[in-house]
Symmetry: C2
Subunit: 191 residues, 2 copies
């Protein structure tokens, strides 16, 4: 797991070597290739994913048959369809690798055993969800406050490496643009 998971745990909690090995044993690791699906619409959402390296995206297919990306997860981000994961319901989403990726995964029951045996993991997940919720609140404010072009500008300013890393048609899908419209905006920005 090349240390990245332990480093992330230690941002929020203290774990010694023995504890870390015991905690890590609750997780499985999978290597996925670009475009592989980890979750498919209509299936029960069994897994909670943590990105060790690479990038995932979450999307749904709208009434017009268009893939609408709602989230990305790069290194140290967790991703799942949280409502479907907790309640073991079929999901409306796909989770797909944007790049070749290595991903930790755990199911709900195992995660519950983990937090029961290692109460500091309750604290860890409390912080993970707290920060994810805070980020979602900020994103909701942007959706109210900014035009899509302003959100793109903001993304370029705040997350330049991310915008460089992700294929432009997926950035367009995330912003709700057509790829053609995003290309026009980019030309305007350069001129």
């Amino acid at each position: 797991m090349n240390g990245i998971f332990r480093e992330h745990l230690e941002k929020f909690i203290t774990v010694n070597d023995t504890e870390y090995l015991a905690i890590a044993a609750f997780f499985q690791v999978i290597d996925v290739r670009k475009k592989d699906n980890l979750l498919v619409e209509g299936e029960p959402c069994r897994w909670h994913y943590f990105v060790l390296n690479g990038c995932l995206r979450k999307f749904f297919i709208n009434d017009k048959g268009v893939e609408q990306t709602t989230e990305f997860a790069i290194e140290t981000w967790w991703m799942t369809d949280n409502m479907a994961y907790e309640h073991k319901r079929p999901t409306d989403f796909y989770i797909q690798a944007v790049e070749d990726a290595a991903v930790l995964y755990i199911d709900w029951e195992t995660q519950e055993q983990l937090v029961a045996e290692f109460p500091q993991m309750e604290r860890y997940f409390r912080f993970v969800y707290q920060r994810a919720f805070a980020a979602a609140q900020i994103r909701l404010k942007y959706l109210y406050d900014f035009s899509k072009e302003e959100i793109y500008d903001h993304l370029c300013r705040m997350q330049p490496a991310f915008v460089q890393r992700i294929p432009q048609y997926l950035i367009a899908s995330y912003l709700g643009f057509t790829p053609e419209y995003l290309s026009e905006i980019r030309k305007k920005k350069r001129s």
Copy 2:
């Protein structure tokens, strides 16, 4: 606290009478009148609020000077500006009582002491944030997938008591409508 807070805790954790009294002692209670502000733009966000009864809303004032409501909190919902609360930053938001309300509140340091002394409260807050994040993910999907009119229809179907309870101009502010436009939609729905 008329039992509502304890009932909410017991949805997620077990607390005996002695523990409950000790946990409750970490919180303060305030009665607010309709239109009172609990949080004002530009101030540091010190408090995390839990609604015992009544209703709060969170809003910001946009560039055009219009109040844009982003969230409501009724009984058993927590509310704050989470990013500003954790990092003790000035907030961009107002939190205001929509109805006369009774509200529990706690500051970040006291909340941290609470979870240190009562580890089951880590579990409680983990669930609170997890569900809030899951709800925010669903809301983001709606914003991508539905027109504003469809979101209003959905709100009327899924939360009829809530739509009845909240003044229509605030429902309009939440959906990003003008009150006049919401009134037109309502006329169309009745005809």
